[in-house]
């Protein structure tokens, strides 16, 4: 089992006028930091976007789904494996899942809450009965319950967690045995600079207006702001591997895909109004054997726009990283960055130098990921 090993992901990303994560007034979420008002995107909002992206990249058996229709999902697999009739499979699946004592929902085949499960886990449970499904289906309820009593159904759900659960955790209020503590920690994204809330006043024209009628069909406002966000997440590799049953290869895959999904995803709030999807201008990964280090302190003093905010923000981040490294003397195992600043452009040379000084020469994102994987594997080998 790996010891202390954390992978910090630092992202600087500019979002144009948008309202990705709104509060009950419909305004973009905000927070005060360093005495200045900042744009904020909650960690939950960005985790959901990451998770959805994550699920599109994972092969089917590793996917995790959040559903209450656990019984029918299991029944489908029993039918697939054994060619049993569907109604018999439903009954068998129901009997299997009663071993979990999940609270039942409104419909008999539903659980009372959304359960985050992995397809591989359901395959395991279905496999428990596949050899004897036809015999079991012929039994009456009482005998069936007795036959199934000793099958390790709960074990199948409490081990071999799907990658999504291993990363993001799971909470089942009345069965703590099924709970999984998340291996990633995601901070709320904050703007590196002070933001003002802006309002877009709009009128909608009624295309069928009679000639005598004047004025708009409706009027309204949408609040928005534009922000260069600092996004931070850290992956506790030891816990990730532990959640995946000690399978470090699977944990390496999960880490790699998480970094990919965290970097590429954007919450979709008000997307059709603002088309705000952007790519990060900087993704930096830092592998540490001591502790995770959040570099948000780089922006406690809000960045002031001179020739744009982006370059000043990443310089500030690079300086904070370098300063923390020299002040505390704890040198990370590995640091690498992918960024979009080119030294050829006027004014960008200083930015590129600061980034290179801190994280090394920019590498394409694919190389960043493969380098990270190689580094973590090497650390694991060294740790034994």
């Amino acid at each position: 089992m790996p010891q202390r090993l954390f992978i910090d992901v630092h992202i600087v990303q500019t979002v144009p006028p948008a309202n990705v994560n709104r509060d009950d007034q419909g305004n973009p979420k905000e927070a005060v930091y360093g005495g200045a008002r900042r744009s904020r995107v909650s960690s939950q909002a960005w985790k959901r976007a990451t998770r959805k992206h994550f699920d599109t990249t994972v092969p089917e058996p590793d996917r995790a789904t959040r559903t209450r229709r656990l019984t029918s999902e299991l029944a489908k697999r029993i039918v697939r494996d054994t060619k049993l009739e569907r109604d018999k499979a439903d009954r068998l699946a129901g009997a299997l899942l009663t071993r979990l004592n999940l609270s039942q929902g409104k419909k008999a085949s539903d659980t009372a809450y959304l359960l985050f499960y992995g397809n591989a886990q359901l395959d395991t449970v279905a496999a428990l009965v596949s050899g004897q499904a036809h015999d079991l289906a012929a039994l009456d309820d009482e005998k069936l319950a007795a036959e199934l009593k000793d099958l390790p159904v709960a074990d199948a759900f409490s081990t071999g967690h799907p990658v999504g659960v291993a990363l993001f955790g799971r909470m089942v209020a009345d069965i703590p045995k099924l709970n999984v503590d998340a291996a990633v920690q995601v901070a709320h994204a904050l703007s590196t600079h002070e933001t003002q809330l802006e309002f877009d006043y709009f009128t909608a024209v009624d295309d069928k207006t009679e000639k005598e009628e004047t004025g708009a069909g409706m009027i309204g406002t949408i609040a928005f702001n534009s922000a260069t966000l600092y996004r931070y997440a850290t992956v506790g590799f030891a816990q990730l591997a532990d959640n995946l049953g000690g399978d470090t290869e699977a944990a390496l895959d999960a880490l790699d895909r998480f970094v990919d999904s965290f970097a590429r995803s954007v919450p979709t709030g008000y997307q059709n109004s603002f088309a705000h999807r952007t790519r990060p201008s900087l993704v930096a990964v830092v592998v540490r054997e001591d502790q995770p280090v959040n570099l948000v302190t780089a922006f406690e003093e809000p960045v002031v726009s001179e020739a744009g905010i982006q370059a000043a923000s990443v310089r500030s981040l690079a300086h904070e990283y370098a300063a923390a490294r020299s002040a505390w003397g704890d040198v990370p195992v590995h640091a690498a960055a992918t960024h979009t600043f080119a030294s050829g452009k006027p004014g960008a040379t200083e930015t590129v130098e600061a980034l290179t000084e801190a994280f090394g020469t920019s590498v394409p994102f694919d190389e960043l990921r493969s380098g990270l994987r190689a580094c973590v594997s090497a650390v694991l080998e060294a740790q034994g």
Partner: protein, 265 residues
Amino acid sequence: MTATGPTTVLLLRLAGPLQAWGDRSAFNRRETRPEPTKSGIVGLLAAAAGRPRHAAIDDLAGLGLGIRVDQAGSLLRDYHTVSDYRGRPLLAAAVNAKGTQRLTGPAKYTHITQRFYLQDAVFLAAIEGPAHFITTLENAVRHPAFPLALGRRSCVPAQPLVLGQRTGPLEEVLRAEPWHVTDAVRKRWGRRNGNAAHVDLPLTLDDPAGDDTREDLPLSFAPTSRAYTSRRVRHTYAAAPTGLTPHPDQPPSTGGHDPFALLGW
């Protein structure tokens, strides 16, 4: 403290954009206290030491705790919605005789929760205990087993978290420590207060004879048997050094009660 032998104090600086220190909230309204709770600090230490949720925590809960409010911050209300992605009505909190949850009636589709955070706050936590144990804990916080959080998972601490060990009584340690705020806040405060050399900061200290209680002493973090009890605390103020040099011609400070000083206004 019932420990024998020399005691030491571990100083932590709890700062970050957001913190959340709930002591009694559950379900839809997750509140925060205006200062860190003992359960939050014990939880942080337990996470650092890599203790699973069901592990015993009496040794950690038995440590003395003092909190100094260096920058009070302000309250942030975060609005949260939960809905069923298939567009179905949500379930009610009540259950019927069979123990199953009913659907909400009239049908409710979006569930709203409120999460409260402290934004832009800085606290000093002084943790007092037997010297060797404190050293172990300091090492654990510097090399935590699980990522640490300021009361809630998404509240990532800003560095530096550990300020190191100090000797002497807990209260003295908190009084001697310089004011941990940014230069901008210090300067702004100085302009309004004639660059006074000291600032009054609120202290909350564990004290069996204290005149106030807190319901935040954890007995167990095990998911099936979470339990808390109360502890007695005492409130006072510490005149912490600001590091500013008062101008000889100006009055040394506002000389009186200035509740806004803490906010850096």
